[in-house]
Symmetry: C2
Subunit: 260 residues, 2 copies
Protein backbone atom coordinates (compact mmCIF):
# COMPACT_ATOMS: atom_id res chain seq x y z
CA UNK A 1 0.00 0.00 0.00
CA UNK A 2 1.23 3.47 -0.95
CA UNK A 3 0.56 6.34 1.46
CA UNK A 4 0.87 10.10 1.06
CA UNK A 5 0.62 12.92 3.61
CA UNK A 6 -0.81 16.43 3.31
CA UNK A 7 0.99 18.31 6.06
CA UNK A 8 4.40 17.79 7.66
CA UNK A 9 3.77 18.91 11.23
CA UNK A 10 3.76 17.00 14.50
CA UNK A 11 0.95 14.55 13.75
CA UNK A 12 2.28 13.80 10.25
CA UNK A 13 5.81 13.34 11.55
CA UNK A 14 4.85 10.81 14.22
CA UNK A 15 2.31 9.00 12.06
CA UNK A 16 4.48 8.78 8.90
CA UNK A 17 7.37 7.27 10.83
CA UNK A 18 5.10 4.72 12.44
CA UNK A 19 3.29 3.76 9.20
CA UNK A 20 6.55 3.52 7.29
CA UNK A 21 7.35 0.39 9.31
CA UNK A 22 4.51 -1.40 7.54
CA UNK A 23 3.77 0.47 4.31
CA UNK A 24 5.42 2.61 1.69
CA UNK A 25 5.20 6.33 2.50
CA UNK A 26 5.54 7.84 -0.98
CA UNK A 27 4.90 11.57 -0.78
CA UNK A 28 4.86 14.40 1.74
CA UNK A 29 3.06 17.59 0.71
CA UNK A 30 3.53 20.90 2.52
CA UNK A 31 2.96 24.48 1.36
CA UNK A 32 6.49 25.02 2.66
CA UNK A 33 8.76 22.76 0.57
CA UNK A 34 11.56 22.83 3.17
CA UNK A 35 9.08 21.62 5.73
CA UNK A 36 8.02 18.77 3.44
CA UNK A 37 11.64 17.89 2.70
CA UNK A 38 12.50 17.56 6.36
CA UNK A 39 9.91 14.85 6.95
CA UNK A 40 10.35 13.29 3.46
CA UNK A 41 14.02 12.77 4.24
CA UNK A 42 13.20 10.90 7.47
CA UNK A 43 10.73 8.51 5.83
CA UNK A 44 12.48 8.29 2.46
CA UNK A 45 9.64 9.89 0.46
CA UNK A 46 9.22 12.57 -2.18
CA UNK A 47 8.66 16.14 -0.96
CA UNK A 48 6.15 18.25 -2.91
CA UNK A 49 4.49 21.64 -2.47
CA UNK A 50 1.99 21.53 -5.37
CA UNK A 51 -1.28 19.60 -5.26
CA UNK A 52 -0.96 18.76 -8.98
CA UNK A 53 2.07 16.63 -8.18
CA UNK A 54 0.12 14.27 -5.93
CA UNK A 55 0.66 10.71 -7.13
CA UNK A 56 -2.66 9.38 -8.53
CA UNK A 57 -1.68 5.84 -7.56
CA UNK A 58 -1.63 6.44 -3.82
CA UNK A 59 -4.00 4.13 -1.95
CA UNK A 60 -4.31 6.43 1.03
CA UNK A 61 -3.88 10.17 1.45
CA UNK A 62 -3.71 11.39 5.04
CA UNK A 63 -4.61 15.02 5.76
CA UNK A 64 -2.71 16.08 8.88
CA UNK A 65 -3.08 19.85 8.93
CA UNK A 66 -4.67 22.27 11.43
CA UNK A 67 -8.47 22.23 11.59
CA UNK A 68 -8.64 25.68 10.04
CA UNK A 69 -6.66 24.56 6.97
CA UNK A 70 -8.82 21.50 6.21
CA UNK A 71 -11.45 23.28 4.03
CA UNK A 72 -8.87 24.79 1.67
CA UNK A 73 -7.08 21.42 1.37
CA UNK A 74 -10.39 19.80 0.43
CA UNK A 75 -11.08 22.46 -2.18
CA UNK A 76 -7.70 21.74 -3.80
CA UNK A 77 -8.14 17.96 -3.66
CA UNK A 78 -11.58 18.25 -5.28
CA UNK A 79 -9.88 19.46 -8.48
CA UNK A 80 -7.65 16.37 -8.69
CA UNK A 81 -10.20 13.62 -9.24
CA UNK A 82 -8.15 11.44 -6.87
CA UNK A 83 -9.36 7.81 -6.65
CA UNK A 84 -7.75 6.64 -3.40
CA UNK A 85 -9.06 6.94 0.14
CA UNK A 86 -8.69 10.38 1.74
CA UNK A 87 -8.75 10.65 5.55
CA UNK A 88 -8.12 13.43 8.01
CA UNK A 89 -6.63 13.10 11.50
CA UNK A 90 -8.70 15.75 13.28
CA UNK A 91 -10.77 15.13 16.40
CA UNK A 92 -13.10 18.01 15.73
CA UNK A 93 -13.97 17.86 12.02
CA UNK A 94 -17.09 15.96 10.95
CA UNK A 95 -16.84 13.30 8.23
CA UNK A 96 -19.39 15.33 6.25
CA UNK A 97 -16.82 18.08 5.75
CA UNK A 98 -14.87 15.65 3.55
CA UNK A 99 -17.88 13.76 2.23
CA UNK A 100 -19.55 16.83 0.76
CA UNK A 101 -16.70 17.34 -1.73
CA UNK A 102 -14.85 14.05 -2.07
CA UNK A 103 -15.61 10.47 -2.96
CA UNK A 104 -13.84 7.91 -0.75
CA UNK A 105 -13.41 9.56 2.65
CA UNK A 106 -12.69 8.65 6.27
CA UNK A 107 -11.23 9.61 9.63
CA UNK A 108 -8.05 8.38 11.30
CA UNK A 109 -7.85 10.21 14.63
CA UNK A 110 -5.26 9.39 17.30
CA UNK A 111 -6.32 10.81 20.70
CA UNK A 112 -2.93 11.94 21.88
CA UNK A 113 -0.77 15.01 22.53
CA UNK A 114 1.96 15.10 19.92
CA UNK A 115 5.21 16.98 20.41
CA UNK A 116 8.52 16.88 18.57
CA UNK A 117 10.41 16.23 21.81
CA UNK A 118 8.89 13.00 23.04
CA UNK A 119 8.10 9.57 21.64
CA UNK A 120 4.49 8.43 21.34
CA UNK A 121 3.42 5.32 23.21
CA UNK A 122 1.25 4.06 20.35
CA UNK A 123 0.10 0.95 22.17
CA UNK A 124 -1.57 3.23 24.76
CA UNK A 125 -3.02 5.65 22.20
CA UNK A 126 -6.73 5.29 21.36
CA UNK A 127 -7.30 5.51 17.60
CA UNK A 128 -10.71 6.45 16.21
CA UNK A 129 -11.64 5.43 12.70
CA UNK A 130 -14.66 6.12 10.53
CA UNK A 131 -15.31 5.92 6.78
CA UNK A 132 -18.20 6.40 4.40
CA UNK A 133 -17.79 2.98 2.76
CA UNK A 134 -17.63 -0.31 4.62
CA UNK A 135 -14.53 -1.54 2.72
CA UNK A 136 -12.72 1.66 3.64
CA UNK A 137 -13.62 1.21 7.31
CA UNK A 138 -12.04 -2.25 7.13
CA UNK A 139 -8.95 -0.87 5.42
CA UNK A 140 -8.53 1.77 8.15
CA UNK A 141 -9.18 -0.81 10.83
CA UNK A 142 -6.38 -3.00 9.49
CA UNK A 143 -3.94 -0.10 9.45
CA UNK A 144 -4.98 1.10 12.91
CA UNK A 145 -4.57 -2.39 14.43
CA UNK A 146 -0.91 -2.31 13.42
CA UNK A 147 -0.40 0.78 15.61
CA UNK A 148 -2.50 0.06 18.68
CA UNK A 149 -4.92 -2.41 20.21
CA UNK A 150 -7.17 0.50 21.16
CA UNK A 151 -9.05 0.98 17.89
CA UNK A 152 -12.57 2.39 18.05
CA UNK A 153 -15.14 2.75 15.28
CA UNK A 154 -16.95 5.85 16.45
CA UNK A 155 -19.38 8.11 14.64
CA UNK A 156 -18.37 11.71 13.95
CA UNK A 157 -20.89 12.80 16.55
CA UNK A 158 -19.22 10.65 19.23
CA UNK A 159 -15.74 11.75 18.19
CA UNK A 160 -16.73 15.42 18.36
CA UNK A 161 -18.17 14.86 21.85
CA UNK A 162 -14.90 13.30 22.91
CA UNK A 163 -13.04 16.36 21.71
CA UNK A 164 -15.47 18.70 23.49
CA UNK A 165 -15.14 16.64 26.68
CA UNK A 166 -11.35 16.82 26.41
CA UNK A 167 -11.55 20.63 26.38
CA UNK A 168 -13.21 20.48 29.81
CA UNK A 169 -11.08 17.68 31.24
CA UNK A 170 -7.72 18.96 29.98
CA UNK A 171 -7.73 22.56 28.71
CA UNK A 172 -10.06 23.89 31.40
CA UNK A 173 -8.53 21.93 34.28
CA UNK A 174 -5.17 23.33 33.17
CA UNK A 175 -6.62 26.85 33.22
CA UNK A 176 -7.77 26.18 36.82
CA UNK A 177 -4.16 25.24 37.66
CA UNK A 178 -3.06 28.47 36.00
CA UNK A 179 -5.42 30.61 38.12
CA UNK A 180 -4.25 28.71 41.19
CA UNK A 181 -0.62 29.54 40.42
CA UNK A 182 -1.39 33.21 39.85
CA UNK A 183 -3.15 33.43 43.24
CA UNK A 184 -0.11 31.90 44.94
CA UNK A 185 2.46 33.95 43.01
CA UNK A 186 0.84 37.11 44.30
CA UNK A 187 1.37 35.97 47.90
CA UNK A 188 4.88 34.55 47.32
CA UNK A 189 3.63 31.04 48.03
CA UNK A 190 5.26 28.22 46.07
CA UNK A 191 2.89 26.57 43.55
CA UNK A 192 4.82 23.31 43.88
CA UNK A 193 3.19 22.82 47.31
CA UNK A 194 0.04 21.89 45.40
CA UNK A 195 1.68 19.28 43.12
CA UNK A 196 0.78 16.28 45.34
CA UNK A 197 -2.87 17.39 45.56
CA UNK A 198 -3.09 18.10 41.82
CA UNK A 199 -1.69 14.68 40.90
CA UNK A 200 -3.87 12.94 43.50
CA UNK A 201 -7.01 14.71 42.22
CA UNK A 202 -6.33 13.59 38.64
CA UNK A 203 -5.55 10.04 39.74
CA UNK A 204 -8.69 9.88 41.88
CA UNK A 205 -10.90 10.88 38.92
CA UNK A 206 -9.64 7.79 37.09
CA UNK A 207 -10.33 5.50 40.06
CA UNK A 208 -13.70 6.70 41.35
CA UNK A 209 -16.02 8.84 39.25
CA UNK A 210 -15.39 12.62 39.49
CA UNK A 211 -18.97 12.94 40.69
CA UNK A 212 -18.09 10.95 43.83
CA UNK A 213 -14.62 12.44 44.15
CA UNK A 214 -15.88 16.03 44.44
CA UNK A 215 -14.74 17.84 47.61
CA UNK A 216 -14.35 21.45 48.70
CA UNK A 217 -16.42 24.22 50.31
CA UNK A 218 -19.12 24.27 47.58
CA UNK A 219 -19.52 20.49 47.84
CA UNK A 220 -19.96 20.82 51.62
CA UNK A 221 -22.26 23.82 51.23
CA UNK A 222 -19.95 25.86 53.48
CA UNK A 223 -21.24 29.38 52.83
CA UNK A 224 -18.77 31.01 55.26
CA UNK A 225 -15.76 29.80 53.33
CA UNK A 226 -17.39 30.56 49.96
CA UNK A 227 -17.99 34.17 51.03
CA UNK A 228 -14.52 34.50 52.51
CA UNK A 229 -12.93 33.26 49.26
CA UNK A 230 -15.04 35.62 47.18
CA UNK A 231 -14.05 38.53 49.41
CA UNK A 232 -10.37 37.58 49.10
CA UNK A 233 -10.63 37.65 45.29
CA UNK A 234 -12.51 40.98 45.39
CA UNK A 235 -9.90 42.51 47.67
CA UNK A 236 -7.19 41.62 45.14
CA UNK A 237 -9.24 42.91 42.18
CA UNK A 238 -9.09 39.45 40.62
CA UNK A 239 -12.43 39.87 38.85
CA UNK A 240 -11.82 37.11 36.30
CA UNK A 241 -10.97 34.59 39.00
CA UNK A 242 -13.98 35.74 41.02
CA UNK A 243 -16.26 35.08 38.02
CA UNK A 244 -14.89 31.54 37.67
CA UNK A 245 -15.08 30.92 41.42
CA UNK A 246 -18.69 32.10 41.63
CA UNK A 247 -19.94 30.24 38.56
CA UNK A 248 -18.34 26.88 39.37
CA UNK A 249 -19.21 27.06 43.09
CA UNK A 250 -22.82 27.88 42.25
CA UNK A 251 -23.07 24.89 39.90
CA UNK A 252 -21.46 22.52 42.43
CA UNK A 253 -23.74 23.82 45.20
CA UNK A 254 -26.85 23.29 43.07
CA UNK A 255 -25.76 19.86 41.89
CA UNK A 256 -25.17 18.40 45.34
CA UNK A 257 -28.03 20.21 47.08
CA UNK A 258 -30.54 18.76 44.63
CA UNK A 259 -28.89 15.34 45.03
CA UNK A 260 -29.48 15.35 48.78
Amino acid sequence: MKIGFIGAGRVATHLAQQLQRHYEVVQIYSRDLLHAQKLAFIVNAEAINEFEKINQHLDLLIIAVSDQAIPSVIAQLKQLNFKGLIVHTSGSTHLNVLASSLDRVGIFYPLQTFSYESEINWQQTPLFIEAREKEDTELLNNIAQLLTEKVYQYSSEQRLSLHLAAVFACNFSNYCYDISKQILDQKQVDFSLLYPLILETAKKATMVSPDHAQTGPARRGDQNILHMHQNMLKAENQDNFLDVYSLLSQQILEKYQSNK
Copy 2:
Protein backbone atom coordinates in the same frame (compact mmCIF):
# COMPACT_ATOMS: atom_id res chain seq x y z
CA MET B 1 4.52 16.62 76.55
CA LYS B 2 0.83 15.88 77.04
CA ILE B 3 -1.51 16.36 74.10
CA GLY B 4 -5.30 16.46 73.82
CA PHE B 5 -7.62 16.50 70.82
CA ILE B 6 -10.92 18.28 70.24
CA GLY B 7 -12.51 16.19 67.49
CA ALA B 8 -12.17 12.52 66.59
CA GLY B 9 -12.61 12.60 62.82
CA ARG B 10 -10.20 11.84 59.99
CA VAL B 11 -7.58 14.51 60.73
CA ALA B 12 -7.59 13.77 64.48
CA THR B 13 -7.35 10.03 63.86
CA HIS B 14 -4.31 10.28 61.58
CA LEU B 15 -2.59 12.98 63.60
CA ALA B 16 -3.16 11.40 67.02
CA GLN B 17 -1.71 8.09 65.90
CA GLN B 18 1.33 9.79 64.46
CA LEU B 19 1.96 12.07 67.48
CA GLN B 20 1.49 9.18 69.89
CA ARG B 21 4.77 7.76 68.61
CA HIS B 22 6.61 10.69 70.21
CA TYR B 23 4.31 12.18 72.88
CA GLU B 24 1.60 11.23 75.29
CA VAL B 25 -1.89 11.62 73.82
CA VAL B 26 -3.97 12.06 76.97
CA GLN B 27 -7.52 12.97 76.00
CA ILE B 28 -9.88 12.80 73.03
CA TYR B 29 -12.96 15.04 73.16
CA SER B 30 -15.95 14.56 70.89
CA ARG B 31 -19.58 15.64 71.28
CA ASP B 32 -20.32 12.01 70.49
CA LEU B 33 -18.72 9.95 73.26
CA LEU B 34 -18.70 6.75 71.18
CA HIS B 35 -16.80 8.61 68.51
CA ALA B 36 -14.26 9.82 71.08
CA GLN B 37 -13.94 6.32 72.55
CA LYS B 38 -13.12 4.78 69.19
CA LEU B 39 -10.06 6.99 68.70
CA ALA B 40 -9.17 7.04 72.44
CA PHE B 41 -8.97 3.25 72.36
CA ILE B 42 -6.50 3.31 69.44
CA VAL B 43 -4.13 5.81 71.06
CA ASN B 44 -4.69 4.68 74.64
CA ALA B 45 -6.23 7.98 75.83
CA GLU B 46 -9.24 9.08 77.86
CA ALA B 47 -12.47 9.73 75.94
CA ILE B 48 -14.55 12.73 77.05
CA ASN B 49 -17.60 14.58 75.75
CA GLU B 50 -17.67 17.55 78.17
CA PHE B 51 -15.37 20.55 77.89
CA GLU B 52 -15.19 20.85 81.69
CA LYS B 53 -13.34 17.54 81.81
CA ILE B 54 -10.43 18.81 79.72
CA ASN B 55 -7.20 18.20 81.62
CA GLN B 56 -5.74 21.57 82.69
CA HIS B 57 -2.22 20.13 82.56
CA LEU B 58 -2.21 19.46 78.81
CA ASP B 59 0.65 21.23 77.05
CA LEU B 60 -1.08 21.22 73.69
CA LEU B 61 -4.72 21.06 72.68
CA ILE B 62 -5.35 20.36 68.99
CA ILE B 63 -8.69 21.44 67.50
CA ALA B 64 -9.45 19.11 64.57
CA VAL B 65 -13.09 19.80 63.80
CA SER B 66 -14.85 21.14 60.68
CA ASP B 67 -14.34 24.83 59.92
CA GLN B 68 -17.95 25.58 60.77
CA ALA B 69 -17.59 24.09 64.26
CA ILE B 70 -14.45 26.07 65.22
CA PRO B 71 -16.25 29.20 66.58
CA SER B 72 -18.41 27.23 69.02
CA VAL B 73 -15.39 25.21 70.20
CA ILE B 74 -13.54 28.48 70.87
CA ALA B 75 -16.49 29.87 72.80
CA GLN B 76 -16.46 26.78 75.04
CA LEU B 77 -12.68 26.85 75.54
CA LYS B 78 -12.83 30.54 76.51
CA GLN B 79 -14.73 29.56 79.68
CA LEU B 80 -12.01 27.13 80.80
CA ASN B 81 -9.10 29.48 81.41
CA PHE B 82 -6.82 26.85 79.82
CA LYS B 83 -3.09 27.68 80.07
CA GLY B 84 -1.61 25.40 77.39
CA LEU B 85 -1.15 26.09 73.70
CA ILE B 86 -4.32 25.74 71.58
CA VAL B 87 -3.94 25.14 67.82
CA HIS B 88 -6.35 24.33 65.03
CA THR B 89 -5.63 22.21 61.95
CA SER B 90 -7.70 24.16 59.40
CA GLY B 91 -6.34 25.58 56.16
CA SER B 92 -8.98 28.24 55.92
CA THR B 93 -9.32 29.75 59.41
CA HIS B 94 -7.28 32.82 60.28
CA LEU B 95 -5.13 32.83 63.44
CA ASN B 96 -7.14 35.87 64.60
CA VAL B 97 -10.22 33.69 65.00
CA LEU B 98 -8.42 31.95 67.87
CA ALA B 99 -6.43 34.97 69.02
CA SER B 100 -9.48 37.15 69.61
CA SER B 101 -10.73 34.84 72.39
CA LEU B 102 -7.79 32.80 73.63
CA ASP B 103 -4.34 33.39 75.00
CA ARG B 104 -1.67 31.02 73.60
CA VAL B 105 -2.79 30.14 70.08
CA GLY B 106 -1.40 28.69 66.86
CA ILE B 107 -1.96 26.74 63.65
CA PHE B 108 -0.86 23.21 62.78
CA TYR B 109 -2.15 22.59 59.25
CA PRO B 110 -1.22 19.50 57.22
CA LEU B 111 -1.93 20.06 53.49
CA GLN B 112 -3.27 16.63 52.68
CA THR B 113 -6.44 14.68 51.86
CA PHE B 114 -7.26 12.47 54.83
CA SER B 115 -9.40 9.37 54.53
CA TYR B 116 -9.99 6.44 56.85
CA GLU B 117 -9.05 3.95 54.14
CA SER B 118 -5.50 4.94 53.28
CA GLU B 119 -2.28 5.65 55.12
CA ILE B 120 -0.79 9.14 55.03
CA ASN B 121 2.69 9.59 53.63
CA TRP B 122 3.71 12.11 56.29
CA GLN B 123 7.19 12.63 54.87
CA GLN B 124 5.57 14.00 51.68
CA THR B 125 2.97 16.10 53.51
CA PRO B 126 3.63 19.84 53.79
CA LEU B 127 2.86 21.10 57.30
CA PHE B 128 2.13 24.78 57.93
CA ILE B 129 2.68 26.22 61.37
CA GLU B 130 2.00 29.63 62.87
CA ALA B 131 1.68 30.93 66.42
CA ARG B 132 1.17 34.24 68.17
CA GLU B 133 4.21 33.82 70.44
CA LYS B 134 7.70 33.02 69.24
CA GLU B 135 8.24 30.23 71.82
CA ASP B 136 5.02 28.58 70.66
CA THR B 137 6.17 28.75 67.03
CA GLU B 138 9.34 26.93 68.08
CA LEU B 139 7.35 24.34 69.98
CA LEU B 140 5.15 23.67 66.94
CA ASN B 141 8.18 23.58 64.69
CA ASN B 142 9.79 20.88 66.86
CA ILE B 143 6.63 18.77 66.76
CA ALA B 144 6.16 19.25 63.02
CA GLN B 145 9.77 18.28 62.25
CA LEU B 146 9.09 14.88 63.79
CA LEU B 147 6.36 14.27 61.21
CA THR B 148 7.81 15.71 58.02
CA GLU B 149 10.76 17.60 56.59
CA LYS B 150 8.34 19.89 54.79
CA VAL B 151 7.57 22.37 57.56
CA TYR B 152 6.64 25.91 56.58
CA GLN B 153 6.13 28.96 58.77
CA TYR B 154 3.50 30.79 56.79
CA SER B 155 1.28 33.70 57.75
CA SER B 156 -2.48 33.15 57.94
CA GLU B 157 -2.83 35.25 54.81
CA GLN B 158 -0.48 32.93 52.87
CA ARG B 159 -2.15 29.82 54.24
CA LEU B 160 -5.60 31.08 53.28
CA SER B 161 -4.34 31.82 49.75
CA LEU B 162 -3.03 28.28 49.52
CA HIS B 163 -6.44 26.96 50.44
CA LEU B 164 -8.17 29.23 47.93
CA ALA B 165 -5.68 28.15 45.25
CA ALA B 166 -6.36 24.50 46.07
CA VAL B 167 -10.07 25.05 45.41
CA PHE B 168 -9.19 26.05 41.84
CA ALA B 169 -6.46 23.45 41.28
CA CYS B 170 -8.33 20.50 42.82
CA ASN B 171 -12.05 21.07 43.41
CA PHE B 172 -12.64 22.98 40.19
CA SER B 173 -10.46 20.80 37.99
CA ASN B 174 -12.41 17.83 39.36
CA TYR B 175 -15.67 19.57 38.45
CA CYS B 176 -14.31 19.99 34.89
CA TYR B 177 -13.68 16.23 34.81
CA ASP B 178 -17.24 15.74 36.01
CA ILE B 179 -18.70 17.87 33.21
CA SER B 180 -16.52 16.00 30.74
CA LYS B 181 -17.87 12.66 31.93
CA GLN B 182 -21.47 13.86 31.70
CA ILE B 183 -20.95 15.01 28.09
CA LEU B 184 -19.54 11.58 27.19
CA ASP B 185 -22.15 9.60 29.10
CA GLN B 186 -24.85 11.24 27.03
CA LYS B 187 -23.21 9.99 23.80
CA GLN B 188 -22.35 6.52 25.16
CA VAL B 189 -18.64 7.30 24.93
CA ASP B 190 -16.39 5.78 27.59
CA PHE B 191 -14.90 8.40 29.96
CA SER B 192 -11.88 6.17 30.52
CA LEU B 193 -10.66 7.12 27.02
CA LEU B 194 -9.67 10.45 28.56
CA TYR B 195 -7.67 9.01 31.48
CA PRO B 196 -4.29 9.22 29.73
CA LEU B 197 -4.89 12.85 28.75
CA ILE B 198 -6.15 13.79 32.22
CA LEU B 199 -3.11 12.28 33.93
CA GLU B 200 -0.74 13.80 31.37
CA THR B 201 -2.30 17.26 31.80
CA ALA B 202 -1.85 17.12 35.59
CA LYS B 203 1.71 15.84 35.27
CA LYS B 204 2.57 18.52 32.72
CA ALA B 205 1.39 21.30 35.06
CA THR B 206 3.99 20.11 37.58
CA MET B 207 6.79 20.05 34.98
CA VAL B 208 6.23 23.23 32.98
CA SER B 209 4.07 26.08 34.29
CA PRO B 210 0.33 25.76 33.47
CA ASP B 211 0.65 29.08 31.68
CA HIS B 212 2.98 27.47 29.12
CA ALA B 213 1.16 24.15 29.09
CA GLN B 214 -2.16 25.67 27.98
CA THR B 215 -3.57 24.17 24.77
CA GLY B 216 -6.99 23.92 23.12
CA PRO B 217 -9.19 25.93 20.75
CA ALA B 218 -9.34 29.05 22.95
CA ARG B 219 -5.55 29.06 23.32
CA ARG B 220 -5.21 28.84 19.50
CA GLY B 221 -7.96 31.45 18.97
CA ASP B 222 -9.86 28.95 16.80
CA GLN B 223 -13.26 30.67 16.60
CA ASN B 224 -14.76 27.96 14.35
CA ILE B 225 -14.26 25.24 16.92
CA LEU B 226 -15.35 27.50 19.79
CA HIS B 227 -18.62 28.23 18.01
CA MET B 228 -19.14 24.60 17.07
CA HIS B 229 -18.64 23.49 20.69
CA GLN B 230 -21.02 26.15 21.97
CA ASN B 231 -23.63 25.04 19.45
CA MET B 232 -23.19 21.41 20.49
CA LEU B 233 -23.85 22.34 24.14
CA LYS B 234 -26.85 24.48 23.15
CA ALA B 235 -28.30 21.65 21.08
CA GLU B 236 -28.17 19.35 24.13
CA ASN B 237 -29.65 22.03 26.44
CA GLN B 238 -26.54 21.82 28.60
CA ASP B 239 -26.83 25.44 29.72
CA ASN B 240 -24.60 25.06 32.80
CA PHE B 241 -21.81 23.51 30.75
CA LEU B 242 -22.25 26.21 28.11
CA ASP B 243 -21.81 28.92 30.78
CA VAL B 244 -18.57 27.30 31.97
CA TYR B 245 -17.33 26.78 28.40
CA SER B 246 -18.03 30.38 27.41
CA LEU B 247 -16.53 31.97 30.53
CA LEU B 248 -13.31 29.95 30.60
CA SER B 249 -12.79 30.17 26.81
CA GLN B 250 -13.29 33.93 26.91
CA GLN B 251 -10.71 34.32 29.68
CA ILE B 252 -8.19 32.08 27.91
CA LEU B 253 -8.73 33.95 24.62
CA GLU B 254 -8.19 37.32 26.30
CA LYS B 255 -5.15 36.14 28.20
CA TYR B 256 -3.25 34.81 25.21
CA GLN B 257 -4.38 37.48 22.74
CA SER B 258 -3.03 40.23 24.97
CA ASN B 259 0.19 38.21 25.43
CA LYS B 260 0.84 38.12 21.69
